[in-house]
């Protein structure tokens, strides 16, 4: 009873939202009754319940960094967090058996999303660990005969860093450049493959510019040259149709928290026919076929499995909707603002990740101005540094445009109102920042910025 009454109060607070006008800026802001220690299960002092009213939180438009948990996924996970807490590797009692059954069911769900056999799925702690296992594991296993790896310049940091650490061990790595569109040149890839190449690693969908690489063609090339093909599909799984057999993929990394699943879990697909041998990075009790020892976290993998199943059911609906919202965002921004560049190939592009460069506006200041929308310029991993993203540098963006880029993420839960609000605020702030910019003034006067000789102080 009390709970219902509390809800009604919260619901009234939500609907009696700020701003009398529906088009008021606050309309797009979600309300959430904040309690300052939302995670504590300790009986709180109910007399000190939040009295200040609803706490406003920014709109979430950064789905490439992470995604909210789908309620269906949380519902699947909860029994395993509360009652069914057994270790899935305990073979002697019911707790272990039921936990193991859940783990195997989750494995089947993940496998069916990518067209694999359940025995080919290994659970890990995330796509970073999966990438490490794929690259270091394959390279080290075949170290006696094969010493060369190929990857691209736009890969995720964990792939590039793994390759760098392998270079220190004595391997050679070729970092393929990408064209202006962000897509690699297949002829260059073919030319780079040597007799002693063990692995080619190319990510399916880039997390910063949303570009889709031609995975099926790369798979065909690699299998004809007898080279293993690994793809980091963290941003692609569950969003675009993937089939490891059609695309001739030998290893694939999957991330839980990019597909509306929990954080801290991922999976790696390792082909069994023909068998891909991998040297294990983590030693221990031989769990997960010896490739990744350690207790499998049942609630997390159940969440990953549920997320994969939901993604499989919702893929078409989500894709249609996200494409529509993406079109809307791009069209509305481009028609109201001049000098906006979309980074990445517009055709081979996943619509949910839009990277726009606003000329003559500094990216960080635009992000600060859009303080009620959660956005990012570049990836979360590199957001702490002030350097422009290496991905944008690799696609040949000018230094000044690289600094002005913002990444908009549209996901399953994004609404039309959120997109419209973001567009409106973005246009407003870009115009305001451009008014303040001396470079913009010069451009309006017809001066070509590239012809200016800046004096030294």
């Amino acid at each position: 009873m009390l709970l219902r009454a509390a809800w009604r109060r919260a619901a009234v607070a939500v609907t009696a939202a700020p701003g009398p006008k529906p088009a008021a800026p606050t309309r797009g802001l979600r309300l959430r009754v904040g309690d300052h220690a939302p995670q504590s299960a300790v009986p709180a002092d109910t007399a000190a319940a939040p009295e200040a009213g609803p706490v406003l939180r920014p709109l979430y438009m950064d789905v490439q960094a992470t995604t909210p948990l789908d309620p269906r996924v949380l519902d699947a996970m909860l029994p395993y967090l509360i009652n069914y807490y057994g270790n899935p590797h305990s073979r002697t009692h019911a707790y272990g058996w039921e936990s193991e059954a859940a783990m195997e069911r989750a494995r089947q769900q993940v496998a069916s999303l990518i067209g694999a056999d359940p025995r080919e799925i290994i659970f890990t702690s995330g796509a970073t660990e999966s990438n490490n296992i794929a690259i270091k594991g394959v390279a080290r296993f075949y170290r006696s005969r094969k010493k060369h790896l190929i990857t691209t310049q736009t890969e995720h940091k964990c792939v590039l860093d793994s390759c760098r650490s392998l270079e220190a061990e004595g391997f050679q790595v070729t970092y393929l450049p990408v064209q202006k569109s962000g897509i690699i040149d297949l002829k260059e890839l073919e030319a780079a493959i040597q007799p002693d190449t063990s692995l080619v690693s190319v990510m399916t969908v880039n997390n910063e510019i949303g570009v889709k690489q031609p995975i099926a063609e790369i798979g065909r090339i690699c299998s004809s040259r007898k080279v293993y093909f690994h793809t980091d599909a963290a941003q692609a799984v569950g969003k675009i149709p993937l089939d490891v057999n059609d695309m001739k993929i030998d290893l694939m990394s999957i991330s839980g928290h990019k597909i509306y699943g929990p954080k801290g879990v991922g999976a790696i697909y390792i082909r069994r026919r023909p068998r891909v041998r991998v040297e294990a990075l983590q030693s221990g009790g031989g769990q997960e076929r010896g490739m990744r020892s350690g207790t499998v976290p049942t609630p997390l993998v159940v969440g990953l499995g549920a997320a994969c199943e939901v993604a499989q059911q919702e893929m078409e609906y989500d894709h249609k909707r996200i494409s529509k919202l993406s079109e809307r965002l791009i069209q509305n921004i481009m028609k109201s603002l001049p000098d906006v560049v979309m980074n990445g190939d517009p055709k081979h592009h996943y619509p949910g990740c839009i990277n726009l460069s606003f000329a003559y506006v500094e990216g960080e200041s635009l992000l600060m101005a859009l303080k009620d929308v959660a956005l990012s310029s570049g990836s979360a991993c590199t957001s702490a540094s002030l350097e422009p993203s290496y991905v944008l540098r690799a696609i040949g963006t000018d230094e000044d445009l690289a600094h002005s880029s913002i990444r908009f993420g549209i996901g399953r839960f994004t609404t039309e109102e959120e997109v419209d609000y973001t567009v409106e605020k973005c246009i407003q702030h870009v115009k305001r920042l451009r008014e303040m910019s001396p470079l913009w003034e010069m451009v309006q006067d017809g001066i070509d910025l590239k012809s200016i000789k800046w004096t030294q102080h």
């Binding site: 009873m1 009390l2 709970l3 219902r4 509390a6 809800w7 109060r9 919260a10 619901a11 939500v14 979600r30 309300l31 959430r32 009754v33 904040g34 309690d35 939302p38 504590s40 299960a41 300790v42 009986p43 709180a44 109910t46 319940a49 939040p50 979430y60 909210p68 309620p71 269906r72 949380l74 519902d75 909860l78 029994p79 509360i82 009652n83 069914y84 609906y317 399953r412 839960f413 994004t414 609404t415």
Partner: protein, 121 residues
């Protein structure tokens, strides 16, 4: 079991929309309402009774999910953590029975509250 009638499907639709509006998180609430509307609209011309029953069963399961999760994710104003734990144990989820609830009460000494969630149609 007789196939679901039009009235039953409509009642289910209304129940799902009603429950969905109780999500306190804006994104979940709007998604649930939108998805339910689109799903029912998409399937409104299905004639095969077996398929209708499959869809209705799926909708009933999803209704259970929405009921549990809109409660679990609601702001905990008056209730403390016990409501969350016990509500999720008491509701007919895929697993639990109320008998097991007391075993995993983590040492809460207060009596089990009678949450509103137990009242079912």
């Amino acid at each position: 079991m007789a196939a679901s009638s039009r009235a039953q499907v409509l009642a289910l639709y209304r129940a799902m929309l009603r429950e969905s509006k109780r999500f306190s998180a804006y994104n979940y609430r709007t998604y649930a309402v939108r998805r339910i509307r689109d799903a029912f609209r998409e399937n409104k011309n299905v004639k095969d009774p077996v398929e209708i029953q499959t869809l209705v069963n799926k909708a009933k399961r999803d209704l259970g999910v929405i009921r549990r999760q809109s409660l679990a994710l609601s702001p905990r104003l008056e209730c403390n953590g016990t409501i969350l734990v016990h509500c999720n144990l008491c509701l007919p989820s895929s697993s639990d029975s109320p008998a097991s609830a007391s075993r995993v009460s983590w040492g809460y000494r207060r009596p089990l509250p009678r949450p509103a969630c137990l009242k079912r149609i």
